[in-house]
Symmetry: none
Subunit: 209 residues, 4 copies
């Protein structure tokens, strides 16, 4: 399921030549390839994308309304799958989530894309919203669920603001990954953050049963 769609697709049993799905993939893959090849985002024109994918410009505009909309789908395609949660404890789950975040911040496919496409999308509030609805929030909900479970289990104080707590875990990691991309992001960082933050959020006594 993509954002892709601007078509006539009014009703009825689909008249005329159907849209080639292969073309869709060629376009998304083309963008990825360019980004991986180190092409600066500023040089990623629709014209160049079309050339790379061997596709007419109109074919792109038939599917997306502009660069930003296209990028939302690129981001989603580049998004790594949700990490498998062990479920042994809230702490373990949080570490796995933050570890996934840390790995995204390293110099890899997602990172190359994220560090800039992400930025680009902010220019349009409409797109920024679509990106959040389709990519950011689902991922965020995962963390919220973990925290809710932890609160029910007594691993978290009952009076903790879960939204804030979530930001306290992810904030420091994102700060390094996004704003200071050249920073180290060492292997133990996820565990370190979880423990440091958890220290203040645990119930005053008898944390684990």
């Amino acid at each position: 399921m993509t954002l892709a769609d601007s078509g006539p697709r009014s009703a009825g049993p689909a008249r005329g030549r159907p849209r080639s799905e292969a073309v869709e993939i060629a376009i998304l893959e083309g963008v990825m390839k360019l980004l991986e090849d180190g092409v600066p985002l500023a040089e990623l024109s629709i014209e160049r994308i079309a050339r790379t994918a061997g596709v007419g410009k109109a074919t792109i505009y038939r599917r997306w309304n502009g660069k930003e909309e296209l990028f939302v789908d690129v981001m989603r395609a580049a998004e790594p799958p949700d990490p498998e949660l062990p479920g042994t404890s809230m702490r373990d789950d949080l570490i796995v989530l933050l570890e996934a975040l840390r790995r995204r911040g390293l110099k890899n496919r997602s990172s190359a894309i994220m560090h800039n496409v992400h930025a680009q999308m902010k220019s349009s509030p409409r797109i920024w919203n679509a990106y959040h609805t389709n990519v950011v929030n689902p991922r965020r909900e995962l963390g919220m669920e973990v925290l809710r479970r932890g609160q029910r289990n007594g691993e978290l104080r009952a009076d903790v603001d879960l939204e804030l707590a979530n930001d306290m875990f992810t904030g420091p990691m994102l700060l390094r990954a996004v704003l200071r991309p050249d920073s180290e992001l060492p292997e133990g960082l996820a565990e370190q953050i979880v423990d440091e933050v958890l220290a203040g959020l645990r119930p005053v006594s008898s944390p684990e049963p």
Copy 2:
């Protein structure tokens, strides 16, 4: 002290007509005005900036090598002055710092600029660096100094990683201000974050005398 340069200024006692400082101000003010007027960043062409400031394009290029370099100086000019620290305690200082951060996230002059110019600058690593060196890091050092003082005073555990601690305070606030600009950012947020985070970083016993 600006980034503005690019000049031939090889050496000697300044030959030729000196650059007008008034022009410099007119350009920076022009960009601010456009941003405040709600002009989308994508429509902020050099050509339009020049028109607004009543200035030739070459006059802009004489000072900055491109839009991004110009934006670094715009950001610096828009940056609010460093907040006055009360110095009564680390907690009070941190609250003041975070409160300043919160206020920047609201819909104001700085914010309108920050939310987008900031994004734009990421497209060039060179510029991103200049921005950090000139704007981000000095501000960040302020927080680090507060934490160092707190650690010496015993308000912070001796074994705390100060860099990480700093991220734990600012990360959650920035996460809301930058990535979720439509979020609430309520008045007590700074205090709430400082207390929540501090809870885990304070020495085990007898924090305050």
Copy 3:
């Protein structure tokens, strides 16, 4: 048949949207209009031509490589049709040809263009050549043919250098038309020149056998 080209037109059966012929005409007419309106040639920028013709700059550059190339086609379009030769005698034909030349020198559409565009084109040897190949030489060949016929008929001495003879007829007229445009160019000038020059070129006695 125009110079207009520069296109990609590598081979095959014409792919993509074909170039609009109407646009081509609009551009050439636009230049003419501006020149007739008395716009100094120095102010005939491509930008202004495009504005006048209601056309994008790129559309002009797609067809011509620059102002000079465009002007070659303007000159050809402004060129009056070859005059009808009576064929009754070499003298009569020459008078008609020179009369056509004289009329071009007067303040009319062709003239306004010629007096300056002509000059402009000299700046590029490449263009100057194209102009000669496409405009000047065909017209010149007409005169040469008349002289050749006259020589065969005995209206011209057999030992006359025809190239030189041609220059002897057209030279004086052009000298006035091009180099002294404010000169009179009176009505009988063509006949006067032909007779004066012919006086020295006719066979000594018994013109026709």
Copy 4:
């Protein structure tokens, strides 16, 4: 005596630092050098001329009102001296004059300049006039004088229009020199033209008493 002059030189006995004559020469020589070096006329900007001559732009504008005015003086400076007339007969004098014209058409200093600067000047009627008044007409008067003398001596029919006769001699030569610069311009051309034209202009019988 130059055109050079736009100065304040309002009245009085010349106050302030007088204009350096060396600078004037440096500028004219600079233009010549550039033209001889094959710099296309279109690339002869005031800026470049100033750079070449090691002179400020204002120093040029203080003397001439623009490129065209400057070029009038360049043309005059490049003009070869009037040829020495033998005075033995009108025919001999004419041959010397036309021979001078022919030599100017060859690839030499004057020619390189003439072929283009000449063209450039046509764009401004004001300059074209100055050029004619200062350069062309004096030279032309020389020929007229020769013809007048010839007519008095009986070497020319009494009813010949001298203006037209002059054009009949110079027209063919200029046509080749200016409009067909790549043409041969062989050594005997001057004599050939004079004799061919003179054939029709001589008195019917008994040319010399």
